[in-house]
């Protein structure tokens, strides 16, 4: 480091990386794995969607858009797609709104509030399977919730996981419970980044609590809103484990099945791989378009200091 500086420093000639040699050492291993185990599989899924592949029939042939037109005429596909949108909408809205409210409540730097922050964050680090086991103990027919309701005099307690009109909302609620702490912590970080002077200036101007929230806090935490919304959108859209453990797609046929659940079930059964691939292709297109649009809309209102 302490060599004489008389040597001319030619910035143009001094490249940090020597392209050909460093590519194989630095970039290739990661790109290779990503290519072989993510990009190729995506392409493969899209291609399979145009075939009638079936694990029990070695003869696979091209069927053009047949699988897609079958899908669009299949009531079950529309049901599963609708379920996915219901879950995703609830999961995007509820933890976002509640998370912000709780972050405002916990926005104090004492030991109590740090402890409560961890309480809300705990489900975030648990697996979907464990979270489902936890909620099953509360929501099953003879579970804790219905026994509490019975003690309170409610005669016919609802079937939280067995009533087709309720089960999908129970599952959405459980995912909200799991994601809430994530939103709380991201919002707390966002609130922490708002300069105190802005609040002081607003108070001097006579702004009340709501006015300060609307005009200072809300615009200043825009990037936290973006992070949470995109994260929730992706988690809501790929929901699978909770459904598998809690309802296995039922009660009845597909009343709580999501598109991810349906694709995986069909893939595991193996009798309609082409059909499942067409469904997965639609799923991929929807999530890419949806998160692209949401990201663009939300980033437009982010303020940069």
């Amino acid at each position: 480091m302490l060599r004489p500086r008389s040597r001319p420093r030619n910035r143009e000639r001094l490249s940090i990386l020597r392209p050909a040699r460093d590519f194989s050492g630095f970039a290739l291993p990661g790109l290779f794995l990503y290519g072989v185990l993510v990009l190729v599989p995506i392409g493969w899924t899209v291609v399979l969607g145009f075939t009638d592949r079936n694990r029990f029939d070695p003869q696979t042939s091209w069927v053009g858009l047949d699988q897609f037109s079958h899908l669009l005429q299949d009531d079950q596909f529309w049901l599963v797609l609708k379920n996915t949108f219901v879950v995703t909408a609830i999961v995007v809205i509820v933890p976002n709104a509640l998370g912000l409210a709780i972050a405002l409540l916990l926005d104090r730097e004492t030991r109590l509030y740090r402890l409560l922050r961890s309480v809300f964050f705990t489900p975030v680090i648990l697996s979907g399977i464990v979270v489902s086991v936890i909620w099953q103990s509360v929501l099953r027919p003879d579970g804790v919730l219905n026994r509490v309701l019975a003690d309170a005099g409610v005669e016919s307690a609802p079937g939280w996981l067995s009533d087709p009109g309720i089960a999908l909302f129970s599952i959405s609620g459980i995912i909200c419970w799991q994601m809430l702490g994530f939103c709380v912590v991201v919002y707390l970080a966002g609130l922490n980044g708002v300069p105190r002077e802005l609040y002081e200036a607003a108070i001097v101007d006579g702004a009340g609590w709501w006015r300060r929230f609307r005009s200072v806090t809300w615009p200043m935490i825009a990037s936290a809103v973006t992070i949470n919304t995109v994260m929730l959108l992706i988690s809501g859209f790929k929901v699978y484990e909770h459904i598998l453990v809690l309802t296995n797609g039922g009660p009845g046929r597909n009343t709580t099945a999501s598109i991810a659940f349906d694709v995986i079930e069909k893939g595991v059964r193996g009798d309609r791989i082409g059909f499942a691939a067409a469904e997965a292709t639609i799923m991929l297109a929807v999530i890419v378009v949806l998160s692209g649009v949401v990201l663009r809309l939300l980033q437009r209102r982010e303020v940069h200091l």
Partner: protein, 274 residues
């Protein structure tokens, strides 16, 4: 008005947190009770607490918990180490290289953040099968590294952009080799980013369900997360044992969280405030 709310604030916060935590309470109490007591008083405290659920899980004849724990530890440690190294090097290359393709490559990688596993699962098993990696820990590690690489690259590339390039230039004038330069000069400056990558990926890989379920398959054992799922059916009448299994499966990440709480929050903060 403002002062009055400051009195209500801790009460409201504690009450909300208590309601929120109620399901966890039920399970934690349940795992310390014999089956009859879970039925008769699900909400009461376990007096006296029993260890029979834990000994039932830990002392299973097939040793499921212990073999699953070994698999989980192997898969998590290997995946996280490989991911940290590969994504740091790749992000460094993509950010620093002047080649024109690196910008689109970076965007393509970041798009990978939102691919649902269900979309690629079927072909991934075919690729791993062709490579002879199905039913093995190595296969799960490869699938994890590929799937989570975008997250690592996302965090590292954001961070590398903030590290001054002059330091690397100085090192390369000194004639250090590329790899030495990277490990001795660049990587130490990336430590905060590496910490959040390792923390988040550690938790995600540990909790992963679908990949180990399908890639390990029933023959090669399970991870603890898959083990919990397998025992849901098995212990359908014995909730205490199921709760104990769930607790033991989550214990490593819970301890990890308690130990690294500050870094967890710092990791989220770095991502969200930038």
């Amino acid at each position: 008005m403002r002062d009055r709310f400051e009195v209500v604030r801790p009460i409201a916060a504690i009450a909300l947190a208590a309601v929120f935590f109620f399901p966890v309470y039920v399970v934690v109490m349940g795992m310390l009770k014999p089956p009859e007591e879970i039925q008769s008083s699900p909400l009461g405290l376990p007096v006296p607490p029993t260890g029979e659920n834990f000994s039932a899980v830990l002392g299973r004849e097939d040793g499921l918990y212990w073999s699953a724990l070994l698999n989980s530890v192997q898969i998590t440690v290997l995946s996280v180490l490989a991911l940290t190294l590969l994504s740091a090097m790749l992000a460094h290359y993509l950010v620093r290289s002047k080649a024109r393709w690196t910008r689109p490559a970076l965007l393509m990688l970041l798009a990978g953040l939102m691919i649902p596993p269900a979309v690629i699962l079927q072909p991934v098993t075919q690729v791993l099968g062709a490579a002879g990696l199905m039913n093995s820990v190595a296969g799960v590690v490869c699938a994890n590294v590929a799937y989570y690489l975008p997250f690592g690259v996302f965090v590292f590339s954001g961070f590398i952009g903030t590290v001054p390039v002059e330091m690397e230039e100085a090192a390369s004038i000194d004639g250090a080799s590329r790899f030495r330069m990277f490990w001795q000069v660049v990587f130490p400056t990336l430590r905060p980013a590496a910490a959040s990558v390792m923390i988040f990926l550690g938790v995600w890989v540990w909790n992963d369900f679908l990949t180990p379920l399908v890639v390990l398959g029933p023959e090669s054992g399970t991870t603890v997360t898959v083990g919990v799922y397998r025992s849901v059916g098995e212990y359908s009448t014995n909730f205490g044992t199921l709760y104990a299994f769930s607790f033991l499966a989550s214990l490593p990440v819970l301890l990890f969280f308690v130990a690294l709480q500050k870094q967890f929050v710092a990791g989220l903060t770095a991502g969200s405030v930038k």
